[in-house]
Protein backbone atom coordinates (compact mmCIF):
# COMPACT_ATOMS: atom_id res chain seq x y z
CA UNK A 1 0.00 0.00 0.00
CA UNK A 2 2.91 2.32 0.70
CA UNK A 3 4.09 1.96 -2.87
CA UNK A 4 0.62 2.31 -4.36
CA UNK A 5 -0.33 5.35 -2.25
CA UNK A 6 2.93 7.05 -3.09
CA UNK A 7 2.62 6.21 -6.80
CA UNK A 8 -0.97 7.46 -6.92
CA UNK A 9 -0.55 10.65 -4.95
CA UNK A 10 3.10 11.54 -5.46
CA UNK A 11 2.26 14.78 -7.28
CA UNK A 12 -0.16 16.05 -4.63
CA UNK A 13 2.15 14.96 -1.82
CA UNK A 14 5.11 16.55 -3.58
CA UNK A 15 3.25 19.83 -3.94
CA UNK A 16 2.25 19.65 -0.29
CA UNK A 17 5.81 19.09 0.92
CA UNK A 18 7.17 21.80 -1.37
CA UNK A 19 4.53 24.27 -0.24
CA UNK A 20 5.27 23.45 3.40
CA UNK A 21 9.00 23.91 2.84
CA UNK A 22 8.39 27.20 1.02
CA UNK A 23 6.19 28.37 3.88
CA UNK A 24 8.87 27.51 6.43
CA UNK A 25 11.56 29.31 4.45
CA UNK A 26 9.33 32.35 3.90
CA UNK A 27 8.52 32.52 7.61
CA UNK A 28 12.18 32.31 8.61
CA UNK A 29 13.31 34.88 6.05
CA UNK A 30 10.52 37.36 6.79
CA UNK A 31 10.97 36.90 10.54
CA UNK A 32 14.68 37.57 10.27
CA UNK A 33 13.93 40.69 8.23
CA UNK A 34 11.29 41.83 10.71
CA UNK A 35 13.73 41.52 13.58
CA UNK A 36 16.26 43.61 11.67
CA UNK A 37 13.62 46.17 10.77
CA UNK A 38 12.58 46.52 14.39
CA UNK A 39 16.13 47.47 15.28
CA UNK A 40 16.67 49.66 12.20
CA UNK A 41 13.46 51.65 12.67
CA UNK A 42 14.07 51.81 16.40
CA UNK A 43 10.48 51.16 17.23
CA UNK A 44 11.14 49.46 20.57
CA UNK A 45 12.40 52.74 21.97
CA UNK A 46 8.84 54.08 21.66
CA UNK A 47 7.53 51.88 24.46
CA UNK A 48 4.17 50.12 24.51
CA UNK A 49 1.23 51.25 22.37
CA UNK A 50 -0.56 53.64 22.21
CA UNK A 51 2.35 55.84 21.31
CA UNK A 52 2.27 59.43 22.39
CA UNK A 53 4.67 61.04 19.92
CA UNK A 54 3.65 61.40 16.26
CA UNK A 55 7.14 60.30 15.27
CA UNK A 56 6.51 56.92 16.85
CA UNK A 57 3.21 56.73 14.98
CA UNK A 58 5.08 57.10 11.68
CA UNK A 59 7.61 54.50 12.77
CA UNK A 60 4.81 52.09 13.57
CA UNK A 61 3.06 52.51 10.22
CA UNK A 62 6.39 52.11 8.43
CA UNK A 63 7.08 48.95 10.42
CA UNK A 64 3.64 47.55 9.67
CA UNK A 65 4.12 48.29 5.99
CA UNK A 66 7.44 46.43 5.92
CA UNK A 67 5.91 43.61 7.92
CA UNK A 68 3.29 42.89 5.26
CA UNK A 69 5.07 39.85 3.72
CA UNK A 70 5.28 38.18 7.14
CA UNK A 71 1.64 38.99 7.88
CA UNK A 72 0.64 37.54 4.50
CA UNK A 73 2.63 34.36 5.11
CA UNK A 74 0.97 33.88 8.47
CA UNK A 75 -2.41 34.41 6.84
CA UNK A 76 -1.45 31.76 4.28
CA UNK A 77 -0.93 29.42 7.22
CA UNK A 78 -4.65 29.86 8.03
CA UNK A 79 -5.66 29.03 4.46
CA UNK A 80 -3.27 26.17 3.87
CA UNK A 81 -5.30 23.47 5.70
CA UNK A 82 -8.42 24.45 3.72
CA UNK A 83 -6.49 23.65 0.54
CA UNK A 84 -5.44 20.33 2.05
CA UNK A 85 -9.12 19.56 2.75
CA UNK A 86 -10.13 20.45 -0.79
CA UNK A 87 -7.31 19.23 -3.01
CA UNK A 88 -5.86 16.32 -1.05
CA UNK A 89 -8.76 15.11 1.11
CA UNK A 90 -11.72 15.64 -1.20
CA UNK A 91 -10.54 13.56 -4.18
CA UNK A 92 -8.69 10.93 -2.08
CA UNK A 93 -11.57 8.45 -2.19
CA UNK A 94 -14.06 10.32 -4.39
CA UNK A 95 -11.87 10.01 -7.47
CA UNK A 96 -11.63 6.23 -7.03
CA UNK A 97 -15.42 5.98 -6.93
CA UNK A 98 -15.78 8.36 -9.84
CA UNK A 99 -13.47 6.35 -12.08
CA UNK A 100 -14.56 2.93 -10.81
CA UNK A 101 -11.01 2.11 -9.72
CA UNK A 102 -12.29 1.12 -6.27
CA UNK A 103 -13.58 -2.03 -7.96
CA UNK A 104 -10.05 -2.62 -9.17
CA UNK A 105 -8.29 -2.29 -5.82
CA UNK A 106 -11.03 -3.85 -3.71
CA UNK A 107 -10.79 -7.05 -5.72
CA UNK A 108 -7.05 -7.51 -5.41
CA UNK A 109 -5.69 -9.54 -2.52
CA UNK A 110 -6.29 -7.08 0.35
CA UNK A 111 -9.46 -6.07 2.14
CA UNK A 112 -11.07 -2.74 1.48
CA UNK A 113 -10.81 -1.81 5.17
CA UNK A 114 -7.05 -2.28 5.05
CA UNK A 115 -6.86 -0.35 1.81
CA UNK A 116 -8.87 2.53 3.25
CA UNK A 117 -6.92 2.72 6.51
CA UNK A 118 -3.50 2.44 4.92
CA UNK A 119 -4.19 4.90 2.12
CA UNK A 120 -5.61 7.46 4.54
CA UNK A 121 -2.91 6.73 7.11
CA UNK A 122 0.00 7.22 4.73
CA UNK A 123 -1.30 10.52 3.34
CA UNK A 124 -2.16 11.63 6.87
CA UNK A 125 1.40 10.87 7.97
CA UNK A 126 2.86 13.12 5.29
CA UNK A 127 0.38 15.89 6.12
CA UNK A 128 1.26 15.69 9.82
CA UNK A 129 4.99 15.90 9.16
CA UNK A 130 4.51 18.91 6.87
CA UNK A 131 2.23 20.59 9.42
CA UNK A 132 4.64 19.92 12.29
CA UNK A 133 7.42 21.62 10.35
CA UNK A 134 5.34 24.72 9.75
CA UNK A 135 3.96 24.78 13.28
CA UNK A 136 7.42 24.78 14.83
CA UNK A 137 8.43 27.86 12.89
CA UNK A 138 5.01 29.51 12.82
CA UNK A 139 4.72 29.86 16.59
CA UNK A 140 8.15 31.42 16.92
CA UNK A 141 7.77 34.32 14.51
CA UNK A 142 4.35 35.64 15.39
CA UNK A 143 5.55 37.68 18.38
CA UNK A 144 7.64 39.83 16.09
CA UNK A 145 4.53 41.72 15.05
CA UNK A 146 3.39 42.79 18.47
CA UNK A 147 4.27 45.98 20.24
CA UNK A 148 5.15 45.92 23.91
CA UNK A 149 4.16 42.94 26.02
CA UNK A 150 3.17 40.00 23.88
CA UNK A 151 0.28 37.68 24.59
CA UNK A 152 0.96 34.01 23.87
CA UNK A 153 -2.60 33.90 22.54
CA UNK A 154 -1.63 36.14 19.62
CA UNK A 155 0.19 33.18 18.06
CA UNK A 156 -2.37 30.58 19.16
CA UNK A 157 -3.56 29.72 15.63
CA UNK A 158 -0.12 29.21 14.12
CA UNK A 159 1.49 27.18 16.92
CA UNK A 160 1.81 23.48 17.67
CA UNK A 161 -0.09 21.42 18.53
CA UNK A 162 -3.31 23.02 17.22
CA UNK A 163 -1.92 23.74 13.75
CA UNK A 164 -1.04 20.08 13.30
CA UNK A 165 -4.55 19.13 14.43
CA UNK A 166 -6.06 21.58 11.91
CA UNK A 167 -4.10 20.01 9.05
CA UNK A 168 -4.92 16.44 10.12
CA UNK A 169 -8.59 17.33 10.51
CA UNK A 170 -8.64 19.04 7.12
CA UNK A 171 -7.41 15.89 5.41
CA UNK A 172 -9.68 13.43 7.22
CA UNK A 173 -12.69 15.71 6.83
CA UNK A 174 -12.13 16.11 3.09
CA UNK A 175 -11.58 12.37 2.75
CA UNK A 176 -14.78 11.58 4.66
CA UNK A 177 -16.74 13.98 2.44
CA UNK A 178 -15.31 12.23 -0.61
CA UNK A 179 -16.26 8.80 0.70
CA UNK A 180 -19.74 10.10 1.42
CA UNK A 181 -20.59 12.02 -1.76
CA UNK A 182 -18.36 10.07 -4.21
CA UNK A 183 -17.89 13.07 -6.49
CA UNK A 184 -14.54 14.86 -6.53
CA UNK A 185 -15.79 18.35 -7.21
CA UNK A 186 -18.62 18.11 -4.67
CA UNK A 187 -16.25 16.61 -2.12
CA UNK A 188 -13.69 19.37 -2.70
CA UNK A 189 -16.33 22.06 -2.18
CA UNK A 190 -17.85 20.33 0.84
CA UNK A 191 -14.37 19.79 2.29
CA UNK A 192 -13.35 23.41 1.77
CA UNK A 193 -16.54 25.02 3.04
CA UNK A 194 -17.10 22.54 5.86
CA UNK A 195 -13.54 22.77 7.11
CA UNK A 196 -13.49 26.57 7.10
CA UNK A 197 -16.88 26.72 8.82
CA UNK A 198 -15.88 24.30 11.60
CA UNK A 199 -12.46 25.87 12.05
CA UNK A 200 -13.88 29.40 12.31
CA UNK A 201 -16.73 28.29 14.55
CA UNK A 202 -14.35 26.68 17.06
CA UNK A 203 -11.98 29.66 17.02
CA UNK A 204 -14.64 32.39 17.26
CA UNK A 205 -17.49 30.82 19.18
CA UNK A 206 -16.00 28.11 21.37
CA UNK A 207 -12.40 29.07 22.13
CA UNK A 208 -13.10 32.30 24.07
CA UNK A 209 -15.26 30.30 26.49
CA UNK A 210 -13.33 27.03 26.89
CA UNK A 211 -13.00 28.18 30.49
CA UNK A 212 -15.25 31.00 31.84
CA UNK A 213 -13.32 34.21 31.19
CA UNK A 214 -12.25 36.52 33.98
CA UNK A 215 -14.54 39.55 34.24
CA UNK A 216 -13.46 42.94 35.49
CA UNK A 217 -15.56 46.11 35.77
CA UNK A 218 -12.69 48.48 36.27
CA UNK A 219 -9.30 48.86 34.68
CA UNK A 220 -7.91 46.76 31.84
CA UNK A 221 -6.70 43.18 31.57
CA UNK A 222 -2.99 42.32 32.01
CA UNK A 223 -0.90 43.20 28.95
CA UNK A 224 -0.14 39.55 28.14
CA UNK A 225 -3.78 38.41 28.47
CA UNK A 226 -6.18 37.57 25.68
CA UNK A 227 -8.61 40.48 25.74
CA UNK A 228 -12.12 39.37 24.82
CA UNK A 229 -13.35 42.96 24.79
CA UNK A 230 -16.01 44.96 26.58
CA UNK A 231 -19.35 43.32 27.19
CA UNK A 232 -22.56 44.51 28.87
CA UNK A 233 -23.40 41.87 31.45
CA UNK A 234 -25.93 41.42 34.24
CA UNK A 235 -24.70 40.86 37.78
CA UNK A 236 -25.26 37.15 37.20
CA UNK A 237 -22.94 37.32 34.19
CA UNK A 238 -25.50 36.97 31.40
CA UNK A 239 -24.99 38.95 28.20
CA UNK A 240 -27.41 41.90 27.90
CA UNK A 241 -29.05 42.17 24.48
CA UNK A 242 -27.84 45.10 22.41
CA UNK A 243 -31.39 46.46 22.04
CA UNK A 244 -31.70 46.80 25.78
CA UNK A 245 -28.35 48.59 25.97
CA UNK A 246 -29.42 50.95 23.18
CA UNK A 247 -32.75 51.61 24.92
CA UNK A 248 -30.95 52.39 28.17
CA UNK A 249 -28.59 54.78 26.45
CA UNK A 250 -31.52 56.55 24.79
CA UNK A 251 -33.54 56.78 27.99
CA UNK A 252 -30.54 58.00 29.97
CA UNK A 253 -30.56 61.46 28.48
CA UNK A 254 -33.04 63.69 30.23
CA UNK A 255 -34.10 63.45 33.86
CA UNK A 256 -32.31 60.15 34.43
CA UNK A 257 -28.95 61.66 33.54
CA UNK A 258 -29.32 64.27 36.24
CA UNK A 259 -30.53 61.77 38.81
CA UNK A 260 -27.35 59.71 38.26
CA UNK A 261 -25.06 62.75 38.11
CA UNK A 262 -24.41 62.05 34.43
CA UNK A 263 -22.66 58.83 35.35
CA UNK A 264 -24.13 56.41 32.81
CA UNK A 265 -22.44 53.42 34.46
CA UNK A 266 -24.42 54.06 37.65
CA UNK A 267 -27.62 54.22 35.60
CA UNK A 268 -26.67 50.95 33.91
CA UNK A 269 -25.91 49.37 37.30
CA UNK A 270 -29.30 50.43 38.61
CA UNK A 271 -30.78 48.46 35.69
CA UNK A 272 -28.59 45.40 36.36
CA UNK A 273 -26.25 46.15 33.48
CA UNK A 274 -22.51 46.27 34.09
CA UNK A 275 -19.87 47.29 31.60
CA UNK A 276 -17.41 44.45 31.92
CA UNK A 277 -14.09 43.59 30.32
CA UNK A 278 -13.57 39.87 29.72
CA UNK A 279 -10.19 38.26 29.28
CA UNK A 280 -8.33 34.98 29.43
CA UNK A 281 -5.03 35.19 31.33
CA UNK A 282 -1.81 34.16 29.65
CA UNK A 283 -1.28 31.16 31.93
CA UNK A 284 -4.30 29.46 30.38
CA UNK A 285 -2.55 29.27 27.02
CA UNK A 286 -1.49 25.61 27.23
CA UNK A 287 -4.82 24.56 28.72
CA UNK A 288 -6.55 26.17 25.74
CA UNK A 289 -4.13 24.58 23.28
CA UNK A 290 -4.89 21.19 24.85
CA UNK A 291 -8.65 21.71 24.77
CA UNK A 292 -8.70 22.84 21.15
CA UNK A 293 -6.36 20.03 20.10
CA UNK A 294 -8.60 17.53 21.90
CA UNK A 295 -11.67 18.90 20.10
CA UNK A 296 -10.02 18.45 16.71
CA UNK A 297 -8.65 15.01 17.63
CA UNK A 298 -12.23 13.98 18.39
CA UNK A 299 -13.39 15.39 15.07
CA UNK A 300 -10.56 13.52 13.31
CA UNK A 301 -11.59 10.26 14.98
CA UNK A 302 -15.19 10.93 13.92
CA UNK A 303 -14.16 11.55 10.31
CA UNK A 304 -12.07 8.37 10.17
CA UNK A 305 -14.90 6.35 11.73
CA UNK A 306 -17.36 7.83 9.24
CA UNK A 307 -15.04 7.02 6.33
CA UNK A 308 -14.60 3.41 7.46
CA UNK A 309 -18.32 3.01 8.08
CA UNK A 310 -19.16 4.33 4.63
CA UNK A 311 -16.54 2.07 3.02
CA UNK A 312 -17.86 -0.97 4.81
CA UNK A 313 -21.53 -0.30 4.18
CA UNK A 314 -21.70 1.37 0.80
CA UNK A 315 -22.56 -0.93 -2.11
CA UNK A 316 -19.77 -0.86 -4.63
Amino acid sequence: MLWLTYRQHRIELGVLVLAAAATVVALLVFAERAAQMRAAIGIDACGPVPFTSPECGFKLSEFNRQLQPLTNTLFWLFLFPAFVAAFLGGPLFAREFERGTHRLVWTQGITRMRWTLEKLGIVLGVVIVAAALMATVGGRVRGLQSMGAESPFSSFDVSAPVVIAYFAFALTFGAAMGALVRRSVTAMLAGLIGFVAIRVFVAMQLRPYFVPPIAIRQGGPPADAWNLGVHQLTAAGAEVPQEKVNALVTSFYGPAAERFGFRINDYFAANDVYTTTLYQPADRYWLFQSIETAIFLMLIALCIALTLWVMRRRPA
Binding site: M1, W3, L4, R7, Q8, R99, G100, T101, R103, L104, V105, W106, T107, Q108, G109, I110, T111, R112, P315, A316
Partner: protein, 293 residues
Protein backbone atom coordinates in the same frame (compact mmCIF):
# COMPACT_ATOMS: atom_id res chain seq x y z
CA UNK B 1 -18.42 -32.27 -10.05
CA UNK B 2 -16.68 -29.74 -7.87
CA UNK B 3 -18.31 -26.35 -7.61
CA UNK B 4 -16.44 -23.09 -8.22
CA UNK B 5 -19.26 -20.70 -7.51
CA UNK B 6 -22.46 -21.50 -5.70
CA UNK B 7 -25.49 -19.39 -4.91
CA UNK B 8 -28.02 -20.59 -2.37
CA UNK B 9 -31.37 -18.79 -2.35
CA UNK B 10 -29.34 -15.68 -3.09
CA UNK B 11 -31.28 -12.43 -2.98
CA UNK B 12 -30.03 -8.91 -3.49
CA UNK B 13 -32.30 -5.91 -3.32
CA UNK B 14 -31.42 -2.31 -4.14
CA UNK B 15 -34.16 -0.45 -2.33
CA UNK B 16 -37.34 -1.94 -3.73
CA UNK B 17 -35.75 -3.37 -6.83
CA UNK B 18 -34.62 -6.99 -6.58
CA UNK B 19 -31.57 -7.68 -8.75
CA UNK B 20 -31.41 -11.32 -7.68
CA UNK B 21 -34.31 -13.20 -6.14
CA UNK B 22 -33.89 -16.58 -4.46
CA UNK B 23 -31.31 -17.47 -7.02
CA UNK B 24 -29.96 -21.03 -6.80
CA UNK B 25 -26.96 -21.78 -8.92
CA UNK B 26 -23.92 -24.04 -9.00
CA UNK B 27 -21.16 -23.43 -11.51
CA UNK B 28 -18.81 -26.36 -12.12
CA UNK B 29 -15.09 -25.77 -11.82
CA UNK B 30 -12.68 -26.17 -14.69
CA UNK B 31 -15.19 -24.85 -17.20
CA UNK B 32 -15.66 -21.69 -19.21
CA UNK B 33 -19.09 -20.45 -18.28
CA UNK B 34 -21.09 -17.83 -20.11
CA UNK B 35 -23.56 -15.73 -18.18
CA UNK B 36 -26.21 -14.17 -20.41
CA UNK B 37 -29.27 -12.14 -19.70
CA UNK B 38 -30.92 -8.86 -20.59
CA UNK B 39 -29.83 -5.62 -18.90
CA UNK B 40 -30.82 -5.70 -15.27
CA UNK B 41 -31.00 -9.49 -15.13
CA UNK B 42 -28.58 -9.54 -12.20
CA UNK B 43 -25.39 -10.63 -13.96
CA UNK B 44 -23.20 -7.84 -12.61
CA UNK B 45 -24.84 -8.12 -9.19
CA UNK B 46 -24.03 -11.83 -9.06
CA UNK B 47 -20.38 -11.20 -9.89
CA UNK B 48 -20.14 -8.32 -7.41
CA UNK B 49 -21.60 -10.53 -4.69
CA UNK B 50 -19.04 -13.20 -5.57
CA UNK B 51 -16.08 -10.87 -5.02
CA UNK B 52 -17.51 -9.18 -1.94
CA UNK B 53 -18.16 -5.81 -3.55
CA UNK B 54 -21.77 -6.25 -2.46
CA UNK B 55 -23.47 -7.86 0.51
CA UNK B 56 -26.34 -10.27 -0.08
CA UNK B 57 -29.76 -9.23 1.23
CA UNK B 58 -30.56 -12.89 1.92
CA UNK B 59 -29.14 -16.26 1.10
CA UNK B 60 -25.49 -16.83 0.48
CA UNK B 61 -22.84 -17.07 -2.18
CA UNK B 62 -19.85 -19.38 -1.89
CA UNK B 63 -16.77 -18.95 -3.99
CA UNK B 64 -14.35 -21.89 -4.07
CA UNK B 65 -16.15 -23.00 -0.93
CA UNK B 66 -15.78 -19.75 1.04
CA UNK B 67 -18.03 -16.81 1.71
CA UNK B 68 -16.39 -13.76 0.10
CA UNK B 69 -17.48 -11.43 2.91
CA UNK B 70 -16.41 -13.71 5.74
CA UNK B 71 -13.05 -14.64 4.18
CA UNK B 72 -12.24 -11.77 1.82
CA UNK B 73 -8.51 -12.36 1.53
CA UNK B 74 -8.92 -16.11 1.02
CA UNK B 75 -11.35 -15.54 -1.81
CA UNK B 76 -9.78 -12.44 -3.36
CA UNK B 77 -6.30 -13.90 -3.60
CA UNK B 78 -7.70 -16.81 -5.63
CA UNK B 79 -10.22 -14.96 -7.76
CA UNK B 80 -9.33 -12.73 -10.67
CA UNK B 81 -12.01 -10.13 -11.31
CA UNK B 82 -12.41 -7.76 -14.19
CA UNK B 83 -15.12 -5.19 -13.55
CA UNK B 84 -17.32 -3.66 -16.20
CA UNK B 85 -15.54 -0.91 -18.18
CA UNK B 86 -12.25 -2.56 -17.17
CA UNK B 87 -11.09 0.09 -14.66
CA UNK B 88 -7.36 0.87 -14.51
CA UNK B 89 -5.36 3.86 -13.29
CA UNK B 90 -4.91 5.85 -16.47
CA UNK B 91 -1.84 7.69 -15.20
CA UNK B 92 0.02 4.49 -14.32
CA UNK B 93 2.44 3.02 -16.82
CA UNK B 94 1.92 -0.59 -17.82
CA UNK B 95 4.86 -1.54 -15.59
CA UNK B 96 3.31 0.38 -12.68
CA UNK B 97 0.03 -1.45 -13.21
CA UNK B 98 1.78 -4.82 -12.89
CA UNK B 99 3.62 -3.46 -9.87
CA UNK B 100 0.23 -2.65 -8.34
CA UNK B 101 -0.72 -6.29 -8.85
CA UNK B 102 2.47 -7.41 -7.16
CA UNK B 103 1.97 -5.16 -4.14
CA UNK B 104 -1.66 -6.04 -3.56
CA UNK B 105 -1.63 -9.78 -4.26
CA UNK B 106 0.11 -12.43 -2.19
CA UNK B 107 0.11 -14.89 -5.10
CA UNK B 108 1.29 -12.50 -7.83
CA UNK B 109 3.33 -14.10 -10.63
CA UNK B 110 5.43 -11.27 -12.07
CA UNK B 111 7.41 -13.26 -14.68
CA UNK B 112 4.14 -14.61 -16.03
CA UNK B 113 2.50 -11.16 -16.16
CA UNK B 114 5.54 -9.56 -17.79
CA UNK B 115 5.81 -12.35 -20.33
CA UNK B 116 2.18 -11.85 -21.33
CA UNK B 117 2.65 -8.11 -21.86
CA UNK B 118 5.87 -8.68 -23.79
CA UNK B 119 4.24 -11.27 -26.03
CA UNK B 120 1.41 -8.85 -26.78
CA UNK B 121 3.97 -6.19 -27.71
CA UNK B 122 2.60 -3.60 -25.29
CA UNK B 123 5.31 -1.12 -24.22
CA UNK B 124 5.90 -1.24 -20.44
CA UNK B 125 6.69 2.45 -20.15
CA UNK B 126 3.49 3.70 -21.81
CA UNK B 127 0.81 5.23 -19.60
CA UNK B 128 -2.24 2.98 -19.54
CA UNK B 129 -4.47 5.92 -20.46
CA UNK B 130 -2.66 6.37 -23.77
CA UNK B 131 -3.02 2.75 -24.92
CA UNK B 132 -5.63 1.64 -27.42
CA UNK B 133 -8.84 0.24 -25.96
CA UNK B 134 -7.83 -3.25 -27.02
CA UNK B 135 -4.40 -2.99 -25.39
CA UNK B 136 -5.94 -1.55 -22.25
CA UNK B 137 -8.27 -4.53 -22.09
CA UNK B 138 -5.29 -6.86 -22.39
CA UNK B 139 -3.49 -5.07 -19.55
CA UNK B 140 -6.63 -5.34 -17.41
CA UNK B 141 -6.87 -9.04 -18.23
CA UNK B 142 -3.20 -9.50 -17.33
CA UNK B 143 -3.84 -7.83 -13.98
CA UNK B 144 -6.65 -10.31 -13.34
CA UNK B 145 -4.60 -13.31 -14.51
CA UNK B 146 -1.33 -12.30 -12.81
CA UNK B 147 -2.46 -13.61 -9.45
CA UNK B 148 -2.82 -17.02 -11.08
CA UNK B 149 -6.45 -17.28 -9.98
CA UNK B 150 -8.42 -20.49 -9.64
CA UNK B 151 -11.51 -18.62 -10.73
CA UNK B 152 -11.72 -15.71 -13.17
CA UNK B 153 -14.81 -13.50 -13.23
CA UNK B 154 -15.14 -11.15 -16.18
CA UNK B 155 -17.97 -8.64 -16.44
CA UNK B 156 -18.62 -7.70 -20.06
CA UNK B 157 -14.91 -8.08 -20.84
CA UNK B 158 -15.18 -7.49 -24.57
CA UNK B 159 -17.81 -4.76 -24.57
CA UNK B 160 -16.85 -1.82 -26.82
CA UNK B 161 -13.89 -3.68 -28.34
CA UNK B 162 -13.65 -3.87 -32.12
CA UNK B 163 -14.12 -7.35 -33.64
CA UNK B 164 -10.40 -7.96 -33.99
CA UNK B 165 -9.55 -6.88 -30.43
CA UNK B 166 -12.52 -8.92 -29.24
CA UNK B 167 -11.18 -12.03 -30.91
CA UNK B 168 -7.65 -11.42 -29.61
CA UNK B 169 -8.89 -10.86 -26.09
CA UNK B 170 -10.88 -14.08 -26.06
CA UNK B 171 -7.99 -15.97 -27.62
CA UNK B 172 -5.65 -14.73 -24.89
CA UNK B 173 -8.18 -15.67 -22.27
CA UNK B 174 -8.65 -19.17 -23.66
CA UNK B 175 -4.90 -19.66 -23.96
CA UNK B 176 -4.37 -18.73 -20.32
CA UNK B 177 -7.22 -20.94 -19.16
CA UNK B 178 -6.01 -23.93 -21.16
CA UNK B 179 -2.65 -23.55 -19.45
CA UNK B 180 -3.92 -23.34 -15.88
CA UNK B 181 -7.21 -25.19 -16.03
CA UNK B 182 -8.92 -22.43 -14.08
CA UNK B 183 -12.62 -21.71 -14.11
CA UNK B 184 -13.89 -18.72 -16.07
CA UNK B 185 -17.21 -16.96 -15.75
CA UNK B 186 -17.87 -14.22 -18.25
CA UNK B 187 -20.90 -12.16 -19.04
CA UNK B 188 -21.71 -10.84 -22.45
CA UNK B 189 -24.56 -9.58 -24.56
CA UNK B 190 -23.03 -11.01 -27.68
CA UNK B 191 -23.98 -14.65 -27.85
CA UNK B 192 -21.59 -15.29 -30.72
CA UNK B 193 -18.68 -14.43 -28.41
CA UNK B 194 -19.93 -16.82 -25.78
CA UNK B 195 -20.53 -19.54 -28.34
CA UNK B 196 -16.92 -19.33 -29.38
CA UNK B 197 -15.44 -19.79 -25.91
CA UNK B 198 -18.00 -21.19 -23.47
CA UNK B 199 -18.75 -24.81 -22.78
CA UNK B 200 -21.33 -24.06 -20.10
CA UNK B 201 -24.11 -21.53 -20.20
CA UNK B 202 -26.36 -19.76 -17.70
CA UNK B 203 -29.30 -17.67 -18.82
CA UNK B 204 -30.27 -15.24 -16.10
CA UNK B 205 -33.60 -13.45 -16.37
CA UNK B 206 -35.15 -11.21 -13.76
CA UNK B 207 -32.76 -12.28 -11.04
CA UNK B 208 -33.28 -16.00 -11.52
CA UNK B 209 -31.73 -18.78 -13.52
CA UNK B 210 -33.87 -19.45 -16.57
CA UNK B 211 -31.62 -22.01 -18.22
CA UNK B 212 -28.37 -23.69 -17.24
CA UNK B 213 -26.31 -26.46 -18.70
CA UNK B 214 -23.45 -27.58 -20.88
CA UNK B 215 -23.57 -25.97 -24.28
CA UNK B 216 -23.45 -29.33 -26.06
CA UNK B 217 -26.33 -30.69 -23.99
CA UNK B 218 -28.37 -27.55 -24.53
CA UNK B 219 -27.90 -27.79 -28.27
CA UNK B 220 -28.90 -31.44 -28.30
CA UNK B 221 -31.93 -30.85 -26.14
CA UNK B 222 -33.41 -28.18 -28.35
CA UNK B 223 -34.64 -28.15 -31.91
CA UNK B 224 -35.96 -25.51 -34.22
CA UNK B 225 -39.27 -26.45 -35.80
CA UNK B 226 -40.90 -24.54 -38.66
CA UNK B 227 -44.33 -25.70 -39.78
CA UNK B 228 -47.61 -24.58 -41.39
CA UNK B 229 -49.57 -21.99 -39.45
CA UNK B 230 -52.57 -24.28 -39.16
CA UNK B 231 -50.61 -26.72 -37.06
CA UNK B 232 -51.68 -26.86 -33.41
CA UNK B 233 -49.91 -27.91 -30.23
CA UNK B 234 -48.59 -24.41 -29.65
CA UNK B 235 -49.28 -24.71 -25.97
CA UNK B 236 -47.27 -27.85 -25.65
CA UNK B 237 -45.01 -27.33 -22.61
CA UNK B 238 -42.04 -28.43 -24.69
CA UNK B 239 -42.44 -25.31 -26.81
CA UNK B 240 -40.21 -22.65 -25.32
CA UNK B 241 -41.00 -19.90 -27.75
CA UNK B 242 -42.92 -19.51 -30.97
CA UNK B 243 -43.18 -16.89 -33.66
CA UNK B 244 -46.22 -16.97 -35.96
CA UNK B 245 -46.36 -15.41 -39.35
CA UNK B 246 -49.20 -15.58 -41.86
CA UNK B 247 -48.05 -18.80 -43.48
CA UNK B 248 -46.07 -20.61 -40.84
CA UNK B 249 -45.10 -21.00 -37.19
CA UNK B 250 -41.48 -21.17 -36.00
CA UNK B 251 -40.96 -22.81 -32.66
CA UNK B 252 -38.06 -23.60 -30.43
CA UNK B 253 -38.83 -26.84 -28.63
CA UNK B 254 -37.20 -28.82 -25.93
CA UNK B 255 -36.81 -32.42 -27.08
CA UNK B 256 -36.39 -35.42 -24.81
CA UNK B 257 -33.76 -36.87 -27.11
CA UNK B 258 -31.72 -35.38 -29.92
CA UNK B 259 -33.68 -35.11 -33.15
CA UNK B 260 -32.19 -35.66 -36.53
CA UNK B 261 -32.91 -32.91 -39.02
CA UNK B 262 -35.85 -33.94 -41.14
CA UNK B 263 -38.94 -32.73 -43.01
CA UNK B 264 -42.38 -34.15 -42.11
CA UNK B 265 -45.10 -34.93 -44.64
CA UNK B 266 -47.01 -31.74 -43.80
CA UNK B 267 -43.97 -29.63 -44.58
CA UNK B 268 -42.79 -29.21 -40.99
CA UNK B 269 -39.03 -28.75 -40.90
CA UNK B 270 -37.04 -29.86 -37.86
CA UNK B 271 -33.42 -28.80 -37.54
CA UNK B 272 -30.93 -28.34 -34.68
CA UNK B 273 -31.14 -24.94 -32.97
CA UNK B 274 -28.18 -22.63 -32.76
CA UNK B 275 -27.08 -21.43 -29.34
CA UNK B 276 -28.25 -17.95 -30.19
CA UNK B 277 -31.73 -19.26 -31.06
CA UNK B 278 -31.91 -21.16 -27.79
CA UNK B 279 -30.83 -18.21 -25.69
CA UNK B 280 -33.08 -15.73 -27.47
CA UNK B 281 -36.05 -18.08 -27.14
CA UNK B 282 -35.58 -18.31 -23.39
CA UNK B 283 -35.07 -14.56 -23.03
CA UNK B 284 -38.15 -13.79 -25.14
CA UNK B 285 -40.40 -16.30 -23.44
CA UNK B 286 -39.39 -14.93 -20.04
CA UNK B 287 -40.41 -11.48 -21.18
CA UNK B 288 -43.76 -12.69 -22.48
CA UNK B 289 -44.47 -14.49 -19.25
CA UNK B 290 -43.69 -11.34 -17.38
CA UNK B 291 -46.10 -9.40 -19.58
CA UNK B 292 -48.87 -11.93 -19.00
CA UNK B 293 -48.29 -11.90 -15.28
Amino acid sequence: MSVALEAIRLTKRFGKVAALRDCDLALPSGRVIGLVGPNGAGKTTLLHLAVGLLDATAGEVRVLGWSPRAHPTLVLSRVGFLAQDRPLYGGFSVADTLELGRHLNPRWDMPYARARIERLGIPFARAVGTLSTGQRAQVALTLALGKRPDLILLDEPVANLDPLARREFLQELMGAVAEDGSTVVLTSHVIADLERVCDHLVVLVDGRVRLIGDVDDLLQQHAFVVGPAAQGALHDPSVIDSARSERQVARLVRTPQPEEPHVDEDGTTVRPATLEEVVLAYLRSARERAEVA
